[in-house]
Protein backbone atom coordinates (compact mmCIF):
# COMPACT_ATOMS: atom_id res chain seq x y z
CA UNK A 1 0.00 0.00 0.00
CA UNK A 2 1.40 3.38 -0.97
CA UNK A 3 1.81 5.97 1.71
CA UNK A 4 0.53 9.54 1.54
CA UNK A 5 3.46 10.70 -0.54
CA UNK A 6 3.66 7.66 -2.77
CA UNK A 7 2.19 6.66 -6.07
CA UNK A 8 1.21 3.32 -7.44
CA UNK A 9 4.82 2.96 -8.54
CA UNK A 10 5.87 3.25 -4.91
CA UNK A 11 7.74 6.53 -5.44
CA UNK A 12 8.13 8.42 -2.22
CA UNK A 13 9.06 12.09 -2.40
CA UNK A 14 12.67 11.09 -1.77
CA UNK A 15 12.56 8.47 -4.53
CA UNK A 16 11.07 11.02 -6.91
CA UNK A 17 13.90 13.44 -6.09
CA UNK A 18 16.50 10.71 -6.58
CA UNK A 19 14.92 9.55 -9.81
CA UNK A 20 14.69 13.04 -11.31
CA UNK A 21 18.31 13.72 -10.31
CA UNK A 22 19.41 10.51 -12.02
CA UNK A 23 17.36 11.25 -15.13
CA UNK A 24 18.73 14.77 -15.30
CA UNK A 25 22.29 13.49 -14.97
CA UNK A 26 21.72 10.89 -17.68
CA UNK A 27 19.76 12.98 -20.18
CA UNK A 28 19.89 16.63 -19.16
CA UNK A 29 16.10 16.63 -18.88
CA UNK A 30 14.88 18.12 -15.63
CA UNK A 31 11.44 17.41 -14.22
CA UNK A 32 10.15 19.76 -11.53
CA UNK A 33 7.67 18.75 -8.84
CA UNK A 34 4.98 20.20 -11.10
CA UNK A 35 5.57 17.28 -13.48
CA UNK A 36 5.16 14.70 -10.71
CA UNK A 37 1.98 13.16 -12.09
CA UNK A 38 3.42 12.91 -15.62
CA UNK A 39 6.63 11.29 -14.37
CA UNK A 40 4.89 8.92 -11.95
CA UNK A 41 2.53 7.57 -14.60
CA UNK A 42 5.31 6.89 -17.05
CA UNK A 43 7.65 5.37 -14.49
CA UNK A 44 4.77 3.12 -13.46
CA UNK A 45 4.41 2.05 -17.09
CA UNK A 46 8.13 1.28 -17.34
CA UNK A 47 8.06 -0.82 -14.18
CA UNK A 48 4.93 -2.63 -15.38
CA UNK A 49 6.60 -3.45 -18.71
CA UNK A 50 9.75 -4.72 -17.03
CA UNK A 51 10.34 -7.86 -15.01
CA UNK A 52 10.49 -5.79 -11.85
CA UNK A 53 7.72 -5.35 -9.31
CA UNK A 54 9.00 -2.40 -7.31
CA UNK A 55 10.53 0.95 -8.01
CA UNK A 56 13.60 0.03 -5.97
CA UNK A 57 14.51 -3.06 -7.97
CA UNK A 58 13.65 -1.42 -11.29
CA UNK A 59 15.73 1.65 -10.46
CA UNK A 60 18.67 -0.51 -9.39
CA UNK A 61 18.46 -2.47 -12.65
CA UNK A 62 18.15 0.75 -14.63
CA UNK A 63 21.52 1.80 -13.28
CA UNK A 64 23.20 -1.56 -13.62
CA UNK A 65 22.22 -4.81 -15.28
CA UNK A 66 19.57 -3.95 -17.84
CA UNK A 67 20.52 -0.37 -18.11
CA UNK A 68 20.45 0.30 -21.86
CA UNK A 69 17.17 -1.47 -22.53
CA UNK A 70 15.40 0.00 -19.53
CA UNK A 71 16.82 3.43 -20.12
CA UNK A 72 15.69 3.42 -23.74
CA UNK A 73 12.12 2.64 -22.74
CA UNK A 74 12.22 5.24 -19.99
CA UNK A 75 13.44 7.91 -22.40
CA UNK A 76 10.77 6.91 -24.89
CA UNK A 77 8.14 7.28 -22.18
CA UNK A 78 9.41 10.59 -20.85
CA UNK A 79 10.16 12.36 -24.11
CA UNK A 80 7.87 13.50 -26.87
CA UNK A 81 9.01 12.03 -30.17
CA UNK A 82 6.58 13.95 -32.32
CA UNK A 83 8.19 16.39 -34.68
CA UNK A 84 6.63 19.38 -36.40
CA UNK A 85 7.58 22.45 -38.38
CA UNK A 86 9.51 25.20 -36.55
CA UNK A 87 9.99 23.04 -33.44
CA UNK A 88 12.34 24.62 -30.87
CA UNK A 89 12.67 27.51 -33.27
CA UNK A 90 14.72 29.61 -30.86
CA UNK A 91 17.63 27.61 -32.29
CA UNK A 92 16.67 28.75 -35.78
CA UNK A 93 16.66 32.30 -34.36
CA UNK A 94 20.25 31.67 -33.21
CA UNK A 95 21.11 30.29 -36.64
CA UNK A 96 19.93 33.45 -38.38
CA UNK A 97 20.96 36.11 -35.91
CA UNK A 98 24.36 34.82 -34.75
CA UNK A 99 25.62 31.59 -36.26
CA UNK A 100 25.27 32.23 -39.98
CA UNK A 101 26.73 35.77 -39.76
CA UNK A 102 29.72 34.32 -37.89
CA UNK A 103 30.11 31.50 -40.39
CA UNK A 104 29.88 33.93 -43.28
CA UNK A 105 32.45 36.21 -41.69
CA UNK A 106 34.83 33.29 -41.00
CA UNK A 107 34.56 32.23 -44.64
CA UNK A 108 35.51 35.66 -45.96
CA UNK A 109 32.14 37.39 -46.14
CA UNK A 110 29.60 37.55 -48.95
CA UNK A 111 32.06 38.78 -51.52
CA UNK A 112 34.89 36.33 -50.90
CA UNK A 113 33.14 33.13 -49.89
CA UNK A 114 33.83 30.18 -52.15
CA UNK A 115 31.33 27.37 -52.33
CA UNK A 116 27.98 27.10 -50.61
CA UNK A 117 27.14 27.29 -46.95
CA UNK A 118 26.22 23.77 -45.90
CA UNK A 119 23.60 22.88 -43.29
CA UNK A 120 22.81 19.31 -42.19
CA UNK A 121 19.74 18.12 -40.31
CA UNK A 122 20.45 14.73 -38.73
CA UNK A 123 18.24 12.89 -38.00
CA UNK A 124 15.79 14.66 -40.26
CA UNK A 125 12.96 12.18 -39.67
CA UNK A 126 10.03 13.01 -41.97
CA UNK A 127 11.60 16.29 -43.10
CA UNK A 128 10.02 18.94 -40.93
CA UNK A 129 13.38 20.20 -39.66
CA UNK A 130 15.28 20.68 -42.94
CA UNK A 131 12.21 22.24 -44.56
CA UNK A 132 11.78 24.52 -41.53
CA UNK A 133 15.37 25.68 -41.96
CA UNK A 134 14.67 26.36 -45.64
CA UNK A 135 11.57 28.39 -44.81
CA UNK A 136 13.32 30.46 -42.16
CA UNK A 137 16.23 31.21 -44.49
CA UNK A 138 14.03 32.15 -47.42
CA UNK A 139 11.75 34.34 -45.35
CA UNK A 140 14.05 35.87 -42.76
CA UNK A 141 17.74 35.76 -43.69
CA UNK A 142 18.77 38.94 -45.48
CA UNK A 143 21.79 37.29 -47.12
CA UNK A 144 19.94 34.45 -48.81
CA UNK A 145 19.99 36.20 -52.20
CA UNK A 146 23.75 36.72 -51.98
CA UNK A 147 24.98 33.30 -50.85
CA UNK A 148 24.44 29.73 -52.00
CA UNK A 149 23.08 27.50 -49.26
CA UNK A 150 22.89 23.71 -49.39
CA UNK A 151 20.46 22.04 -46.98
CA UNK A 152 20.88 18.33 -46.35
CA UNK A 153 18.69 15.97 -44.35
CA UNK A 154 19.83 12.54 -43.21
CA UNK A 155 18.27 9.68 -41.29
CA UNK A 156 18.90 5.99 -40.65
CA UNK A 157 15.30 5.09 -41.51
CA UNK A 158 14.48 4.82 -45.21
CA UNK A 159 10.74 4.89 -44.50
CA UNK A 160 10.87 8.33 -42.90
CA UNK A 161 13.16 9.52 -45.67
CA UNK A 162 10.55 8.50 -48.24
CA UNK A 163 8.03 10.61 -46.35
CA UNK A 164 10.51 13.47 -46.19
CA UNK A 165 10.95 13.28 -49.95
CA UNK A 166 7.18 13.32 -50.48
CA UNK A 167 6.90 16.20 -48.00
CA UNK A 168 3.16 16.05 -47.44
CA UNK A 169 2.07 17.08 -43.96
CA UNK A 170 -1.10 17.23 -41.89
CA UNK A 171 -2.41 19.88 -39.59
CA UNK A 172 -0.45 18.78 -36.52
CA UNK A 173 2.88 19.11 -38.30
CA UNK A 174 1.97 22.46 -39.78
CA UNK A 175 0.34 24.10 -36.77
CA UNK A 176 3.21 26.58 -36.25
CA UNK A 177 3.63 27.53 -39.91
CA UNK A 178 2.30 31.07 -40.55
CA UNK A 179 -0.64 31.11 -42.95
CA UNK A 180 1.24 33.39 -45.34
CA UNK A 181 4.10 30.87 -45.53
CA UNK A 182 1.63 28.04 -46.00
CA UNK A 183 0.11 29.83 -48.98
CA UNK A 184 3.49 30.73 -50.42
CA UNK A 185 5.48 27.51 -50.03
CA UNK A 186 2.93 24.68 -49.82
CA UNK A 187 0.40 23.14 -52.15
CA UNK A 188 -2.90 21.70 -50.82
CA UNK A 189 -3.12 18.00 -51.63
CA UNK A 190 -6.47 17.12 -50.05
CA UNK A 191 -7.65 15.76 -46.70
CA UNK A 192 -6.29 18.86 -45.03
CA UNK A 193 -2.74 18.01 -46.02
CA UNK A 194 -0.21 20.31 -47.65
CA UNK A 195 2.88 19.42 -49.67
CA UNK A 196 6.07 21.47 -49.68
CA UNK A 197 6.42 23.02 -53.13
CA UNK A 198 8.80 21.63 -55.75
CA UNK A 199 11.28 24.48 -55.41
CA UNK A 200 12.07 23.78 -51.77
CA UNK A 201 11.75 20.01 -52.03
CA UNK A 202 14.24 19.88 -54.85
CA UNK A 203 16.68 22.09 -52.95
CA UNK A 204 16.90 19.78 -49.93
CA UNK A 205 19.14 16.75 -50.43
CA UNK A 206 18.21 13.64 -48.46
CA UNK A 207 20.59 10.87 -47.40
CA UNK A 208 20.32 7.63 -45.50
CA UNK A 209 23.06 7.28 -42.91
CA UNK A 210 23.72 5.98 -39.44
CA UNK A 211 25.40 8.70 -37.42
CA UNK A 212 27.33 6.05 -35.47
CA UNK A 213 28.80 4.50 -38.63
CA UNK A 214 32.16 6.17 -39.21
CA UNK A 215 32.61 4.73 -42.70
CA UNK A 216 29.24 6.04 -43.91
CA UNK A 217 29.66 9.35 -42.15
CA UNK A 218 32.95 9.89 -43.97
CA UNK A 219 30.86 11.06 -46.95
CA UNK A 220 29.68 14.02 -44.85
CA UNK A 221 32.30 16.74 -44.75
CA UNK A 222 32.68 20.49 -44.44
CA UNK A 223 29.29 21.33 -43.01
CA UNK A 224 29.03 24.79 -41.51
CA UNK A 225 26.09 23.91 -39.28
CA UNK A 226 24.62 20.62 -38.09
CA UNK A 227 21.35 20.18 -36.26
CA UNK A 228 21.45 16.89 -34.34
CA UNK A 229 18.60 17.27 -31.91
CA UNK A 230 17.04 14.80 -29.50
CA UNK A 231 18.86 11.69 -30.67
CA UNK A 232 22.06 11.34 -28.66
CA UNK A 233 20.05 10.79 -25.47
CA UNK A 234 18.88 7.50 -26.97
CA UNK A 235 22.41 6.14 -27.36
CA UNK A 236 24.57 4.33 -24.83
CA UNK A 237 27.84 5.97 -23.82
CA UNK A 238 29.98 4.34 -26.48
CA UNK A 239 27.56 5.05 -29.32
CA UNK A 240 27.24 8.66 -28.17
CA UNK A 241 31.01 9.01 -28.26
CA UNK A 242 31.18 7.51 -31.73
CA UNK A 243 28.36 9.80 -32.96
CA UNK A 244 30.09 12.83 -31.47
CA UNK A 245 33.34 11.91 -33.23
CA UNK A 246 31.49 11.52 -36.54
CA UNK A 247 29.65 14.83 -36.16
CA UNK A 248 32.98 16.49 -35.40
CA UNK A 249 34.41 15.02 -38.60
CA UNK A 250 31.41 16.24 -40.61
CA UNK A 251 31.86 19.83 -39.50
CA UNK A 252 34.19 22.37 -41.00
CA UNK A 253 36.67 23.66 -38.38
CA UNK A 254 34.77 26.45 -36.64
CA UNK A 255 31.42 24.89 -37.63
CA UNK A 256 28.47 24.76 -35.26
CA UNK A 257 26.49 21.88 -33.78
CA UNK A 258 23.00 22.32 -32.34
CA UNK A 259 21.77 19.64 -29.94
CA UNK A 260 18.28 19.34 -28.45
CA UNK A 261 17.48 21.71 -25.60
CA UNK A 262 17.75 18.92 -23.06
CA UNK A 263 21.02 17.48 -24.37
CA UNK A 264 24.57 18.30 -23.38
CA UNK A 265 27.72 17.41 -25.26
CA UNK A 266 29.83 17.95 -22.17
CA UNK A 267 28.75 14.61 -20.72
CA UNK A 268 29.50 12.79 -23.97
CA UNK A 269 32.76 14.15 -25.31
CA UNK A 270 35.13 17.07 -24.61
CA UNK A 271 36.14 17.61 -28.25
CA UNK A 272 33.65 20.43 -28.94
CA UNK A 273 33.82 23.93 -27.54
CA UNK A 274 30.53 25.02 -25.93
CA UNK A 275 29.55 28.54 -26.94
CA UNK A 276 26.84 30.47 -25.12
CA UNK A 277 24.58 32.48 -27.40
CA UNK A 278 21.64 34.63 -26.31
CA UNK A 279 19.35 31.82 -27.47
CA UNK A 280 21.24 29.03 -25.67
CA UNK A 281 24.28 26.77 -25.90
CA UNK A 282 25.71 25.71 -29.24
CA UNK A 283 28.79 23.53 -29.74
CA UNK A 284 31.63 24.49 -32.03
CA UNK A 285 34.36 22.45 -33.65
CA UNK A 286 37.55 24.25 -32.65
CA UNK A 287 39.35 25.90 -35.53
CA UNK A 288 42.63 24.37 -34.34
CA UNK A 289 45.64 24.00 -36.55
CA UNK A 290 44.08 22.03 -39.37
Amino acid sequence: MADATSTGAGLSDADFARFTEYFYKRTGIHFTAGKRYFVDKRVEACIRNSSHSTFASWFAALRTRDRSELLQELINQLTVNETYFLREDYQFDALLSTVLPQVLSARGGVRRITGALKILSLPCSTGEEPYSIALRLLEEWDQIDHVDVEIHGADIDSAVLAKAAHASYGERSLQRVPKAWLNKYFVPVGSGRHQVDDGIRSAVTLHRVNVCDTASMRAFRDYDVIFCRNVLIYFDELSSRRAAENLYGALRPGGYLFLGHSESMSRISPIFTPTRLPEGIVYQRPTGAN
Binding site: V149, E150, I200, T214, R241, P270, I271, N290
Partner: protein, 207 residues
Amino acid sequence: MGLVRKQIPQSPEEPAPPSATPDELIRRLDDPDPERRREAALDLDGMPEAVPELLARLGPEQEPRVRDAVLTTLAAHDTEAVAAGLAVHLASDEAGLRTAVAEALATMPRSTPALIPDLLAAPDHDVRVMTAMVLADLPHPDAQSWLARMIDEDPHANVVTAAIDALLPAATAEHVPVLQAAARRFPDDPFLQFTVRSALPRLAGTA
Protein backbone atom coordinates in the same frame (compact mmCIF):
# COMPACT_ATOMS: atom_id res chain seq x y z
CA MET B 1 22.16 32.46 -55.10
CA GLY B 2 19.71 31.08 -52.57
CA LEU B 3 18.98 27.45 -51.82
CA VAL B 4 20.96 25.16 -54.07
CA ARG B 5 20.94 21.40 -54.38
CA LYS B 6 24.19 19.52 -54.10
CA GLN B 7 24.41 16.30 -56.08
CA ILE B 8 26.79 14.11 -54.15
CA PRO B 9 28.82 11.82 -56.38
CA GLN B 10 28.04 8.59 -54.55
CA SER B 11 24.80 7.00 -53.52
CA PRO B 12 24.10 7.98 -49.93
CA GLU B 13 23.03 4.41 -49.18
CA GLU B 14 26.50 3.10 -49.96
CA PRO B 15 29.20 3.56 -47.35
CA ALA B 16 32.29 5.33 -48.55
CA PRO B 17 35.07 2.92 -49.42
CA PRO B 18 37.63 2.22 -46.69
CA SER B 19 40.03 5.09 -46.52
CA ALA B 20 43.12 2.86 -46.27
CA THR B 21 44.42 -0.58 -45.32
CA PRO B 22 44.94 -1.34 -41.61
CA ASP B 23 48.70 -0.96 -42.03
CA GLU B 24 48.27 2.41 -43.66
CA LEU B 25 45.88 3.51 -40.94
CA ILE B 26 48.36 2.45 -38.26
CA ARG B 27 51.09 4.44 -40.00
CA ARG B 28 48.76 7.44 -40.04
CA LEU B 29 48.60 7.34 -36.25
CA ASP B 30 51.99 9.07 -36.44
CA ASP B 31 50.99 11.59 -39.14
CA PRO B 32 52.01 15.17 -38.32
CA ASP B 33 48.42 16.31 -39.08
CA PRO B 34 46.29 15.66 -35.96
CA GLU B 35 43.12 15.40 -38.05
CA ARG B 36 44.69 12.57 -40.07
CA ARG B 37 45.64 10.86 -36.81
CA ARG B 38 42.13 11.33 -35.45
CA GLU B 39 40.48 9.90 -38.54
CA ALA B 40 42.91 6.98 -38.63
CA ALA B 41 42.14 6.13 -35.02
CA LEU B 42 38.39 6.11 -35.74
CA ASP B 43 38.83 4.10 -38.94
CA LEU B 44 40.67 1.40 -36.98
CA ASP B 45 37.36 0.55 -35.32
CA GLY B 46 36.83 -3.21 -35.13
CA MET B 47 40.43 -4.13 -35.97
CA PRO B 48 41.91 -6.08 -33.05
CA GLU B 49 45.35 -6.12 -34.67
CA ALA B 50 45.50 -2.35 -34.15
CA VAL B 51 44.88 -2.49 -30.39
CA PRO B 52 48.57 -2.61 -29.34
CA GLU B 53 49.38 0.28 -31.68
CA LEU B 54 46.48 2.36 -30.36
CA LEU B 55 47.43 1.64 -26.75
CA ALA B 56 51.02 2.62 -27.49
CA ARG B 57 49.92 6.03 -28.83
CA LEU B 58 47.73 6.86 -25.87
CA GLY B 59 50.42 8.21 -23.56
CA PRO B 60 52.48 10.18 -26.09
CA GLU B 61 49.46 11.67 -27.92
CA GLN B 62 49.12 15.31 -26.94
CA GLU B 63 46.03 16.30 -28.95
CA PRO B 64 42.91 15.68 -26.82
CA ARG B 65 40.72 15.17 -29.92
CA VAL B 66 43.05 12.45 -31.20
CA ARG B 67 43.29 10.88 -27.76
CA ASP B 68 39.50 10.77 -27.52
CA ALA B 69 39.24 9.08 -30.91
CA VAL B 70 41.82 6.49 -29.82
CA LEU B 71 39.83 5.84 -26.64
CA THR B 72 36.53 5.58 -28.51
CA THR B 73 37.97 2.90 -30.78
CA LEU B 74 39.71 1.05 -27.95
CA ALA B 75 36.66 1.08 -25.66
CA ALA B 76 34.57 -0.61 -28.35
CA HIS B 77 36.75 -3.72 -28.03
CA ASP B 78 35.95 -4.06 -24.30
CA THR B 79 38.56 -6.79 -23.78
CA GLU B 80 40.76 -7.54 -20.78
CA ALA B 81 43.87 -6.51 -22.71
CA VAL B 82 42.39 -3.13 -23.58
CA ALA B 83 41.09 -2.55 -20.06
CA ALA B 84 44.48 -3.42 -18.55
CA GLY B 85 46.25 -1.22 -21.10
CA LEU B 86 44.00 1.70 -20.25
CA ALA B 87 44.07 1.24 -16.49
CA VAL B 88 47.80 1.99 -16.25
CA HIS B 89 46.98 5.57 -17.28
CA LEU B 90 44.79 6.07 -14.23
CA ALA B 91 48.09 6.87 -12.50
CA SER B 92 49.10 9.43 -15.15
CA ASP B 93 50.36 12.83 -14.02
CA GLU B 94 48.24 14.33 -16.79
CA ALA B 95 44.74 15.07 -15.49
CA GLY B 96 43.17 15.11 -18.95
CA LEU B 97 44.52 11.67 -19.79
CA ARG B 98 43.54 9.95 -16.55
CA THR B 99 40.04 11.47 -16.66
CA ALA B 100 39.55 10.46 -20.30
CA VAL B 101 40.74 6.94 -19.49
CA ALA B 102 38.37 6.67 -16.50
CA GLU B 103 35.46 7.70 -18.75
CA ALA B 104 36.47 5.10 -21.32
CA LEU B 105 36.81 2.31 -18.74
CA ALA B 106 33.31 3.14 -17.49
CA THR B 107 31.96 2.27 -20.95
CA MET B 108 33.51 -1.23 -20.84
CA PRO B 109 31.23 -3.33 -18.63
CA ARG B 110 32.56 -6.69 -19.84
CA SER B 111 36.24 -6.21 -19.07
CA THR B 112 36.62 -3.42 -16.51
CA PRO B 113 35.03 -5.31 -13.57
CA ALA B 114 37.87 -7.85 -13.52
CA LEU B 115 40.31 -5.02 -12.81
CA ILE B 116 38.38 -3.50 -9.94
CA PRO B 117 39.75 -5.63 -7.06
CA ASP B 118 43.34 -4.70 -7.99
CA LEU B 119 42.43 -1.05 -8.51
CA LEU B 120 40.74 -0.91 -5.11
CA ALA B 121 44.00 -2.16 -3.59
CA ALA B 122 46.27 0.18 -5.58
CA PRO B 123 48.92 1.77 -3.33
CA ASP B 124 48.48 5.16 -5.06
CA HIS B 125 45.40 6.78 -3.53
CA ASP B 126 44.92 8.93 -6.66
CA VAL B 127 44.37 5.73 -8.64
CA ARG B 128 41.70 4.73 -6.13
CA VAL B 129 40.04 8.14 -6.55
CA MET B 130 39.93 7.56 -10.31
CA THR B 131 38.52 4.07 -9.66
CA ALA B 132 35.60 5.69 -7.84
CA MET B 133 35.04 7.80 -10.98
CA VAL B 134 34.97 4.66 -13.09
CA LEU B 135 32.50 2.95 -10.76
CA ALA B 136 30.21 6.00 -10.79
CA ASP B 137 29.24 5.28 -14.40
CA LEU B 138 30.09 1.61 -14.84
CA PRO B 139 26.91 -0.33 -15.66
CA HIS B 140 27.58 -3.34 -13.46
CA PRO B 141 25.52 -4.91 -10.65
CA ASP B 142 28.46 -4.81 -8.22
CA ALA B 143 29.34 -1.15 -8.78
CA GLN B 144 27.39 0.04 -5.75
CA SER B 145 28.80 -2.60 -3.42
CA TRP B 146 32.35 -1.82 -4.53
CA LEU B 147 31.75 1.84 -3.79
CA ALA B 148 30.23 1.00 -0.41
CA ARG B 149 33.32 -1.11 0.35
CA MET B 150 35.58 1.82 -0.57
CA ILE B 151 33.62 4.08 1.76
CA ASP B 152 33.81 1.51 4.52
CA GLU B 153 37.43 0.44 4.22
CA ASP B 154 39.65 2.85 2.31
CA PRO B 155 42.12 4.59 4.62
CA HIS B 156 42.32 7.84 2.59
CA ALA B 157 39.73 10.59 3.09
CA ASN B 158 39.90 11.77 -0.54
CA VAL B 159 39.14 8.28 -1.79
CA VAL B 160 36.23 7.89 0.59
CA THR B 161 34.82 11.27 -0.41
CA ALA B 162 35.14 10.39 -4.09
CA ALA B 163 33.38 7.08 -3.46
CA ILE B 164 30.56 8.83 -1.59
CA ASP B 165 30.12 11.26 -4.50
CA ALA B 166 30.03 8.34 -6.91
CA LEU B 167 27.53 6.37 -4.86
CA LEU B 168 25.10 9.18 -4.07
CA PRO B 169 22.99 9.14 -7.25
CA ALA B 170 22.11 5.50 -6.52
CA ALA B 171 22.34 5.55 -2.73
CA THR B 172 19.32 4.69 -0.59
CA ALA B 173 18.44 4.75 3.09
CA GLU B 174 20.31 1.48 3.52
CA HIS B 175 23.57 3.34 2.84
CA VAL B 176 23.03 5.82 5.69
CA PRO B 177 25.01 3.74 8.25
CA VAL B 178 27.92 3.43 5.79
CA LEU B 179 28.04 7.19 5.34
CA GLN B 180 27.71 7.85 9.04
CA ALA B 181 30.57 5.45 9.75
CA ALA B 182 32.75 7.24 7.20
CA ALA B 183 32.02 10.56 8.89
CA ARG B 184 33.08 9.05 12.23
CA ARG B 185 36.31 7.68 10.69
CA PHE B 186 37.38 11.10 9.37
CA PRO B 187 36.08 13.63 11.91
CA ASP B 188 38.68 16.24 10.90
CA ASP B 189 38.07 16.22 7.16
CA PRO B 190 35.71 19.17 6.50
CA PHE B 191 34.90 18.26 2.90
CA LEU B 192 33.98 14.69 3.74
CA GLN B 193 31.91 15.92 6.69
CA PHE B 194 30.10 18.39 4.43
CA THR B 195 29.48 15.72 1.77
CA VAL B 196 27.94 13.31 4.27
CA ARG B 197 25.95 16.04 6.05
CA SER B 198 24.47 17.19 2.70
CA ALA B 199 23.63 13.67 1.60
CA LEU B 200 21.93 12.22 4.65
CA PRO B 201 18.66 14.21 4.54
CA ARG B 202 18.15 13.23 0.89
CA LEU B 203 18.51 9.55 1.63
CA ALA B 204 15.90 9.44 4.38
CA GLY B 205 12.75 7.83 3.04
CA THR B 206 14.29 6.35 -0.09
CA ALA B 207 13.57 2.79 -1.00
